[in-house]
Every structure is written in C-alpha cells, then in structure tokens.
C-alpha cells in the first residue's frame, strides 16, 4: 500500500506549562517528519509558538499531531493567520494578479479589493508581494 505524503503549514502554540518539556524533540524524533521552522518564539516559563512546515507520511503526520494535541499544544492551520490590515491596504488590486488561489477579487464598479480568507492556502506570497505590506501573519 502506497503511503501518501503530506505537507502542511501549522502554528503550534505552547502554553507556559508545556514550554519547558521536550515536546518538539519527541515529536520530530518519533514521527519521522521533516520540518522547516519559519518563525518561532519560545521563552522558558512563558507561552510560546512555533510556525513550521511539516511534511511526511500522512499516517505519521496524523499520529504526530495527536501526540502534540495530547501534550497540550494548540494546533492551528496557518491560513487563518494570513490577515489583511484594512488600514494598510491601499486597494490597489496587485494581489488579484499574484495570489495563486484567487483569494482576492475586485468587487463591482467601485472595484474594491475583497480578500476571502477561506480561499487562502497560506502560501505566504502576499506577505512580501503586497506593495503596501498589508498582508500580515497574526496569531
């Protein structure tokens, strides 16, 4: 039976009581996943987070995620964290051209640029491609 390989971008939130435990190293060791840490902030005795791209065998990925869950880590898919600052956005519409999933569209005659978070797959492109730097990671 062929194994499916998956790749996901997730944010792991560590409550302060979990930060001091070797959760991450166990996770990586025992579930044979490759990972690419994109951003992290872990300070002893405080809440922390790690944003990473995980890839590996689907079954092992699922098992790894439930291990993290049981260890008290909150897991969030990355896409919900790609947000638009309406204050920064200048409504240019450049994103309509570069977003690979068409998460942006122009609305009606007024040509307002609408962002549909549900279509976003968190590729990260808009974070640096939006000229006004209006697309931000928030969590």
């Amino acid at each position: 039976m062929a194994n499916t390989t998956v790749s996901h971008r997730v944010i792991l939130h560590f409550p302060s009581r979990v930060v001091n435990q070797p959760v991450i190293s166990n996770f990586i060791k025992n579930y044979d996943l490759s990972f690419n840490i994109m951003k992290a902030s872990i300070i002893p005795d405080q809440e922390g987070y790690v944003m990473l791209e995980l890839s590996g065998d689907q079954d092992k990925y699922n098992a790894g995620i439930s291990y993290l869950h049981d260890a008290g880590v909150r897991i969030e898919p990355f896409s919900q964290n790609v947000q638009r600052s309406d204050e920064r956005c200048v409504q240019c519409g450049a994103c309509v051209g570069f977003c690979p999933t068409e998460a942006f569209h122009l609305d009606g005659v007024a040509r307002a640029v609408v962002f549909n978070n549900n279509l976003c797959v968190a590729c990260g492109l808009c974070l640096t491609a939006c000229p006004a730097r209006a697309m931000q990671l928030r969590f």
Binding site: V90, Q91, C92, G93, G97, R111, P131, A132
Partner: protein, 399 residues
Amino acid sequence: MPKTIAEINERIKRGQAVVATADEIIDLAREKGIARTAAEVDVVTTGTFGPMCSSGAYINTGHSQSRIKMGGGQAFLNDVPAYTGFAAVDLFIGANALPDADPRNRVHPGEFNYGGGHVIEELVAGKDVRLVAHAYGTDCYPRRELDTLVSINDLNEAVLFNIRNAYQNYNVAVNASSKTIYTYMGILKPNLGNATYCSAGQLSPLLNDPFYNTVGIGTRIFLGGGTGYVTWQGTQFNPDVPRTANGVPRRGAGTIAVIGDLKQMSSRYLRGISMLGYGVTMAVGIGLPIPILSEEILAYTLVTDADILAPVVDYAGAYPNRSSEVLAEVSYAELKSGQIKVRGATIPAASLSSYQRAVEIAQTLKKWIERSEFFLTERVAPLPGVESGMSLKPLTERR
C-alpha cells in the same frame, strides 16, 4: 458660452458650483449633450493614487544647541539617508531612499520593507522619527553628532516636493522571458503569465486634459490629502507621442511636478510602498480640477476607458534594453476587465494603482469645491505643448 475661472470661483464662493467627477461627467454629457453640459458644469474633478517614485520632501529641522551643520555631512531619518547638500539644517528625503544596512537584492528578490516613502508616511502621520546626523564641525557650527526624535510638528517646514507625478498614460508590463521577474511594475510571471498596469484610466488627471489646455504652473490641486500646486512640468515630460484621434496619448507623455505643505496632508494618501526585488517608493494621491471653460475642454474630459490605449511592454527584454518595441496596444476597458489579449494569448491583468482610492480623491475634491473649501487658480504659465518640440532624450554615454 465660454466661462472664466473668476466666474467659476464666484459660483464656488456662493456654494453654487456644479461639479462632476471625470467618471460622472461621461454619463451626464451622454444624457444632456455637450453644449448643455458645458454650460451647466463648472468643474470636472479627476483622481489618481499610485506609486510615484520621483517624490520626496524637504524639511527644515530647526537649529540644535549647540548648532550643527548637517550640510555637507550625513543625516538619517529612521536610518534612511537624507540629502544634505543644502544649508545647515535643510534636508531632502526622497521616496526611494534606503537605509545603508538594507540588504537590497543581495538575496534576490529583496524585500525592501522600509525606506524614504515610509519615513514621509510616518512624518505625515505625526509619528516620531529618529534624526541622526554626523557633521565635520566648524567654528560657527561646532557640533559633530546629533541623535534626537523629531515629529512633523517640531519641524519649521515640511514640504512635499515631487518632481515627476501623475504620468499621462503608462506602460502595461509583461514578461516574455522564461523566468519570473521582479520589477517596479510588480511581479511578472514568465511566458506572458500576467500583466500589470498603473493608471486610473478615464479618471486620471492628465488624460482628461490631454493637450494641457487648463493645467499649468500654479494650478491648485488635491495633493496627498491636502492642497498643493503644480510647479512645473514633471521630469521626462514628453508631449510629442503618438495620440489617438481624440488627442489621448498612446504612450507615457506629460507629467507634473507638484508641491504642497506636508503638515496638512494625510498618510491615507501618502503611503510607503515596497516593491519586491525592486525597492521602496511612495504611493501618492493627486486630484486635478479641470475648469469647464469651453465645450472643447469638456469634450476632452469625456474620454472613456475604451478610448485610452496603453502599450504592452516586455519588462524582461525591451524595457531594460531601452528598446521601443511594443507587443500590443490594449485599452483600459480591457485592462479593467481583468484580461487582455497579447499575441493571441489571454493574460490576466492587475493594477498597481488604486482605482477605488482614485474615485475617493475625485469625490473628495468635488466635495471641497461644492462646500466652498477649494477655489480654482488661474495658471501663471502653460505646460509645454506638442508644438514645443520637447522630447525625451536618451542618455548617450561618452568619454
């Protein structure tokens, strides 16, 4: 029946001026006809909001105790170098300036998160900016180092002075090469994968006055959320380009240099912009009022997106090599539909300038005039016309 600017101003003063935006005037004239519309409408307002690289501001910081002569030394605003070739405490900050420590394109494409445009945006927003200066010291200006916070309210003068804005028409950018390129026209995907453009089309200031019949030196305008003035033709002013039958330039043509008090502007209309792999710049909001002095002047403001043609240029080949090759001409109606046709291929098109904000500017200017808050000025001198023989010279290198 021709009107004068003085008559229009009299009507503005009485709160009776009839104003329409360059969008609205199209339907209005279709309904009422040119003669009646020209008689009834006093002013047509235009608007544009997009990246305009040749923008900047000069400031006078006031003198520190003891005095420092930044002129001939070095000065930085939030680490972004300002030009110090003036007297002791006059500085110029350009929109494209980058901090010395910015990695540029060392890792390509560079992110260019902060630069001169952002400094100007923060000043306008009233935020504190760190001024650091190194000077050589003189008997009358003994100080050599300065490190202080300043805000726009601390400055004697803070004046926006943009030497080329509001391009009359502009290139549509595509990429005919086989790899993605990062340009001032945005990210261009290989093999004509997408197209970008940067003009408000039928709402754009100089496209509504294609032969500069009303705009000139001294014209009061909406600038960056406040009022400003046209000071001169902008750099690279090039009126003698191919035009359509109704006079609309089919290439980038006229430009304007503009000035205005930064202290009354708003960061909603002056925005630091980062172009991936290219650099920083500033998005500027400009609105030009066009006095409807005659039927001819009105007729020019009736231009529609379908009438305005823009050249499609390959930014991987023709543009960097300064070749004048144009792959196709497309109308703003096609561009705004989101798709254009180039050499048989259908290409998605996206804008870099904000149409929504351009409409907002034209509407704001309309409101100012209707409320007697903005009066028109008589120009002091016209901009050079097609007959001036002025043209765009390339740089010929020599030793």
